[in-house]
């Protein structure tokens, strides 16, 4: 809309006509207080805090509902306005507990902040305050009614934002109260958005409440370790007996790729890290078949010695490596480099939840054809084929819903199930489970493949009319089907694509070459020349064994060693334990998983919240992972690989190019004063930088990744500043897609599960149990 000019507190301002006054003011740093206003949610004008004086208007007006107009003259902080706000706060405090020191929101409470600002020194209220017991509405949501100021943010975020509508308002007047849909409990997606959005301490988190105070925590913004959306989660940590313990996950600063959103897993499912069963000492299997705790150097020496023996006696092809969907890009990259240069094998794979290789091949050389998670919130038209984002990509589901609600985006969905997002769909097509490939052919113009009817025809017509389409598809598409879908998409004017894979770094695992036939950046193993140059090593030229072939080889006695990093293939692929009887198995993990139980050596590993590096979400958005927590006794996978390589006699300078091309000035150039070096490292740490003088420095490896993987040639500065960077599909060096064996095994996770890791989260388990065994409904209160 056209710009208008208006005056606020004597300042001339311009903003597009139709902008809300409160937003226009905020944009120039004039903060108008509000409890009920929340950007992106429907307007309420209920709290009356945002009142301002507008010339020619008889009464004070609410800035949250007033749109700016040409020539409007506004005052936002006169005595009259201050008095109005003060009175409103006094009214609220009349019935509000004044026990801020013990309130869970103390220090993070908007009511507290407003009281501080506008003052309510003298208590005019002498009546006894209403007291009501706190209620537990779900394993993760508690409600403290007297603290509620009825801003309706929770009701709106749950309804409008989540499309769950689990919160309502009951009774009226002073008896009005926020009520859950199950009368005394919530039946919902447990996202906890209501808690984050609550300006006071009325809704509190079942995991965090009364554990600590906000100012006693360290807050670290990092990336969630669960699904492939890669949301930013801010972890609140505090010192514990054996390190730094995570006590809270939230999203209050909204600075991440996920904007306002965080799901149950990002918010609460960090608790696996605090489990008592976590491994903290290496285990080595003894002659009697039992595990015995060992020191780090004993265990590493033992494992390295065996690996070296096997490499030397049987060659690299007798060793297999299985990587992880949740380790960092640097770790994944290092693992494949270790496999190829130190172990000398291409037998490397990971649990593939989706076919990224075919996707990369289909898009190779095409620029600007992949969409970031952010794009899903703005794209004018979206075609969603397969997958159920509500369960498997909650942030994507949020973006799609918001996009429809706020931008009237058109969403077309074809699915074999009646997924929840169909409620936002402009058109929804139910198709057979095996009907995706034919649907694409039909969309591309082949009428003979489906029994078309009016609905399918309208679906196709609408899609083909779109001038800018975002095609999002799931693991239903593999190999040639992906090729066909991309070809169809490219026949439309302006199409972008997203392939939905399952875990925090599934995409990174594929991008970084945890595959038997491709190197990082999908470079075929046969054309590895520039890698060989950089590595200064000879690389195996033939494709290695894939994950299933490795187990076949083990069974037939041809796999002497298997090195598993952060993965549980035994359960995932239903491997018969007997298969590994004669294979030397090394496992790095947090827990004694079914795979670890079969190992000869087990190393206790750190998780994604306990290390630094980068991860790539399924959209190709690369984000910085920061170390938030710490657990005595565990090591990062990066460190473990490096130490193993060292004990195997590898040249560490070659494996991790540390100290190379780096101007890590420790103060020496200026003739350091005593202590200067320390201060310098403090500065580096504060800026998320690390002195690159250590073989354990993942950023040294990132340097190498950026040299060798052109699609990862993003701005380091931006990354370190916390922005997400999008991988460039046009720089992928893969050519045609050779026919590959279909090894895709979708995780089938829901909102409340997260592979093997999820099983170690007490919170997820509690929520899952509460959802599978419904509580009997008791009679309505009052």
């Amino acid at each position: 809309m056209a710009d208008v000019t208006f005056t606020v507190d004597g300042k001339k301002l311009t903003a597009p006509a139709g902008t809300l006054l409160i937003d226009a003011c905020k944009a120039v740093g004039i903060e108008i207080p509000a409890f009920c206003y929340y950007p992106g949610l429907s307007l309420q004008a209920a709290c009356r805090m945002c009142v301002v004086r507008i010339e020619k208007m008889p009464k004070l007006q609410t800035a949250c509902t007033t749109t700016v107009a040409e020539g409007m003259v506004v005052q936002t902080e006169t005595d009259e306005i201050k008095q109005a706000r003060k009175a409103t706060i006094e009214l609220l405090l009349g019935n509000h507990p004044l026990d801020c020191p013990v309130c869970d929101a103390g220090g993070e409470c908007e009511l507290q902040d407003m009281t501080f600002k506008y003052g309510a020194a003298e208590s005019k209220y002498v009546e006894i305050k209403q007291h009501r017991e706190e209620q537990q509405w779900s394993p993760v949501v508690f409600f403290d009614r007297p603290r509620c100021i009825l801003c309706y943010r929770c009701v709106r975020v749950c309804g409008e934002g989540m499309d769950v509508w689990a919160l309502g308002i009951q009774n009226r007047g002073v008896s009005a109260v926020i009520a859950p849909n199950g009368q005394d409990h919530l039946e919902c997606e447990e996202c906890g958005m209501c808690i984050d959005i609550c300006p006071v301490g009325a809704l509190t988190s079942g995991t965090y409440r009364y554990k600590t105070r906000p100012w006693e925590m360290t807050h670290v913004a990092t990336i969630c370790t669960h699904c492939g959306d890669g949301c930013k989660t801010t972890l609140g940590t505090r010192r514990s007996n054996d390190g730094m313990e995570i006590v809270r996950g939230d999203n209050r600063d909204k600075s991440g790729i996920n904007g306002d959103f965080l799901c149950i897993k990002g918010r609460y499912a960090f608790d696996f890290a605090n489990r008592t069963e976590r491994l903290t000492k290496p285990l080595v299997r003894q002659a009697d078949g039992q595990f015995k705790e060992a020191s780090w150097s004993e265990a590493i020496d033992f494992a390295a010695k065996r690996l070296r023996e096997i490499r030397e006696s049987k060659g690299g092809q007798a060793i297999g490596v299985i990587g992880s969907n949740r380790t960092t890009n640097e770790e994944n990259y290092l693992l494949q480099k270790f496999a190829r240069t130190v172990l000398g094998t291409n037998n490397i794979d990971h649990h593939r939840t989706v076919d990224y290789v075919s996707f990369a091949a289909a898009l190779a050389g095409k620029s600007e054809r992949t969409a970031s998670l952010r794009d899903t919130a703005n794209a004018p038209a979206i075609l969603l084929l397969g997958n159920d984002p509500t369960e498997q990509h909650p942030a994507l589901a949020w973006n799609l819903r918001s996009n429809v609600r706020l931008n009237r985006a058109r969403i077309y969905i074809a699915n074999h199930a009646e997924i929840k997002l169909r409620r936002q769909a402009k058109q929804f097509l139910e198709i057979p489970k095996d009907g995706y490939a034919s649907l694409v052919q039909y969309l591309a113009g082949n009428d003979s493949v489906v029994a078309a009817n009016e609905q399918t025809a309208a679906f196709r017509d609408a899609i083909r009319k779109e001038e800018s389409l975002l095609i999002i598809f799931g693991s239903e598409f593999r190999g040639r089907d992906i090729q066909a879908l991309v070809e169809f998409g490219l026949s439309l004017p302006n199409t972008k694509f997203v392939l939905l894979g399952d875990y925090a770094n599934s995409r990174g695992a594929a991008d970084m070459g945890l595959l038997p036939d491709t190197l990082p950046g999908y470079v075929p193993v046969a054309s590895a020349a520039h890698f060989a140059d950089e590595y200064g090593a000879v690389l195996p030229q033939n494709a290695g064994l894939d994950l299933l072939q490795m187990f076949d080889a083990a069974q037939s006695g041809n796999l002497a060693a298997l090195y598993v990093v952060g993965s549980n293939p035994v359960t995932r692929y239903g491997v018969d334990p007997a298969v590994l009887k004669n294979t030397f198995v090394i496992v790095q993990d947090m827990f004694l998983t079914e795979t670890a139980q079969l190992a000869d050596v087990v190393f206790p590993a750190a998780n994604l919240y306990e290390k630094a590096g980068t991860v790539t979400n399924t959209y190709g958005d690369i984000q910085l992972v920061k170390k938030a927590a710490d657990k005595a006794g565990v090591r990062s996978d990066f460190e473990l690989i490096v130490r193993l390589a060292d004990r195997m006699g590898a040249d560490l300078k070659k494996l991790v190019p540390f100290g190379r091309g780096v101007r890590a000035d420790m103060g020496q150039t200026r003739g350091a004063q005593s202590g200067e070096a320390d201060r310098h490292s403090v500065w580096l740490a504060a800026h998320g930088l690390e002195p690159k003088l250590s073989p354990f420095d993942p950023f040294a490896t990132l340097d190498e990744i950026q040299r060798l993987v052109p699609s990862y040639s993003f701005s380091r500065l931006e990354l370190l500043a916390g922005s997400d960077q999008h991988a460039k599909s046009e720089l992928v060096q893969i050519s045609a897609a050779p026919a590959r064996r279909d090894l895709v095994l979708p995780s089938q996770d829901t909102l409340f599960t997260s592979g093997t890791l999820g099983r170690y989260s007490d919170k997820l388990k509690e929520v899952l149990d509460s959802h599978t065994t419904p509580k009997p409904v008791e009679a309505a209160a009052d």
């Binding site: 209920a46 009356r48 409103t88 009226r172 002073v174």
Partner: protein, 435 residues
């Protein structure tokens, strides 16, 4: 059955058919029924609006907005269907006039609805009655059915080629639902919480379509205006206040009842002559002139004309025309408490100043009344009420604050007596909390 009253000073226009069996359609037709509708069909929208403007009719729901002007705000073109909504929620304490209209002249409401529809280009009207009026709803339902049976409603009404439907609707106990936007919410099956304005109902109303909302009395007056002509109607009333209106006189008078008096009629005369004066020859203490939300008048202030402008000048409001007369044996603190208790009970709870303010006021005045007040209470009452005024989401907050300010300003000494432990000379109830 509510008693009908009569007084020579009355000018019976709206109440013309009261007590004559006009709920029967044939009888209604005998009494000029549906003539106005046919005239309106013949003459068209512009003529209707011109007559309405000329009549000087101002809304009888309370705010007194000129009806013809309100209708003319509805855009001619609209993508969405337009609607007429008749406000028969009648819940303002002291007000019981629409009650009589539904009881005695249901077809006049239907006629007015059709005519309003013709004026704005609506094809559907809703008549919303408060839930307590079940017996009146039945009367309205029968009248609507009879009108359909005769072809006065439905397809091609009066053979004119115009379609018009009327649906009756009921609330379920909520004063706030009388507020026009809350009324629309309620009719849409929701909580009676008002809507953000703008947009105003004339542009975005029921089901998102342009909507005219009028009080039942306003609507029932419309056919009479068309039959007698706008200008002659205007002449009956006072300046800028056309015609007559139903005044309910209740409380301590000899002959309480609903009287139809010309706009501008003197309040004192209405009490002393029309309603027979204060009951039992007692003295007058106070008058609440237009329903419970209008500020109270002292006896020396009641020599004033009953129209929107004169009452405004007198520092109060004409409101819904419910005149409540209070004799000198009444405790004003108790009266104030009963008044605020009502608003506390009826606040929808949406916005902070009204939700918390009414509750706090009720508690404080209750304490003062019960003899447990503290010195600063009176200032607090004023502070609270002043800080509610003009700050709430809808006018209910004002409706609660205004009378409170009036009582405390005009009868402060009585409040002080309660504070100073003087036993209330009129005390009847140890505890008074309201429903």
């Amino acid at each position: 059955m509510p008693r009908l009253v009569s007084h020579p000073d009355e000018v019976k226009i709206i109440s013309r058919r009261f007590g004559q069996g006009a709920e029967n359609l044939d009888k209604y037709l005998e009494l000029d029924g549906y003539k106005a509708t046919q005239l309106a069909l013949e003459k068209g929208a512009d003529w209707i609006i011109a007559e309405m403007k000329a009549s000087g009719l101002r809304g009888r729901g309370g705010a007194g907005f000129p009806t013809g002007m309100k209708w003319s705000f509805v855009p001619k073109q609209s993508d969405r269907p337009k609607y007429v909504l008749v406000n028969g929620d009648e819940s303002e304490p002291g007000t019981c006039k629409d009650h009589l209209i539904f009881l005695h002249d249901p077809h006049a409401v239907i006629e007015g609805t059709i005519i309003a529809g013709l004026a704005i280009g609506a094809k559907m009207g809703f008549i919303y009655l408060r839930g307590e009026y079940r017996y009146l709803l039945k009367i309205m339902e029968k009248a609507v059915a009879d009108a359909y049976a005769r072809g006065f409603l439905g397809k091609n009404i009066f053979g004119s080629g115009v379609d018009f439907d009327v649906v009756t609707q009921t609330g379920a106990g909520a004063y706030e639902v009388g507020e026009e936007s809350a009324l629309m919410e309620s009719l849409e099956g929701k909580r009676g919480v008002p809507r953000i304005k703008p947009p105003f109902p004339a542009v975005v109303g029921l089901y998102g379509g342009p909507t005219v909302i009028n009080n039942a009395e306003t609507i029932a007056t419309v056919p009479h205006i068309l039959l007698m002509g706008g200008e002659p109607y205007a002449k009956i009333g006072s300046e800028r206040n056309g015609g007559t209106r139903l005044f309910g006189i209740s409380g301590h008078v000899e002959r309480p009842g609903v009287y139809e008096l010309p706009m501008g009629y003197n309040l004192k005369k209405a009490i002393y002559e029309v309603a027979g004066g204060v009951r039992g020859g007692r003295g007058l203490k106070a008058v609440v002139p237009g329903g419970s939300s209008t500020p109270v008048l002292r006896p020396e202030e009641i020599d004033v004309g009953l129209d929107f402008d004169q009452m405004g000048k007198a520092g109060t409001m004409l409101g819904s025309g419910g005149i409540v007369v209070i004799d000198d044996q009444t405790c004003i603190v108790e009266f104030a408490l009963r008044t605020i208790a009502f608003y506390q009970h009826e606040s929808c709870g949406w916005c902070i100043p009204c939700r918390e303010g009414t509750d706090w006021l009720k508690k404080t005045i209750g304490r003062v009344h019960a003899g447990g007040g503290v010195d600063k209470d009176l200032d607090n009452i004023r502070y609270l009420a002043e800080n509610m005024m003009g700050r709430t989401f809808c006018p209910l907050g004002d409706a609660a604050a205004m009378p409170t300010l009036g009582f405390i300003k005009k009868f402060r000494s009585e409040f002080e007596d309660h504070l100073n432990g003087k036993p209330c000379p009129y005390a009847r109830h140890e505890e008074l909390v309201g429903a």
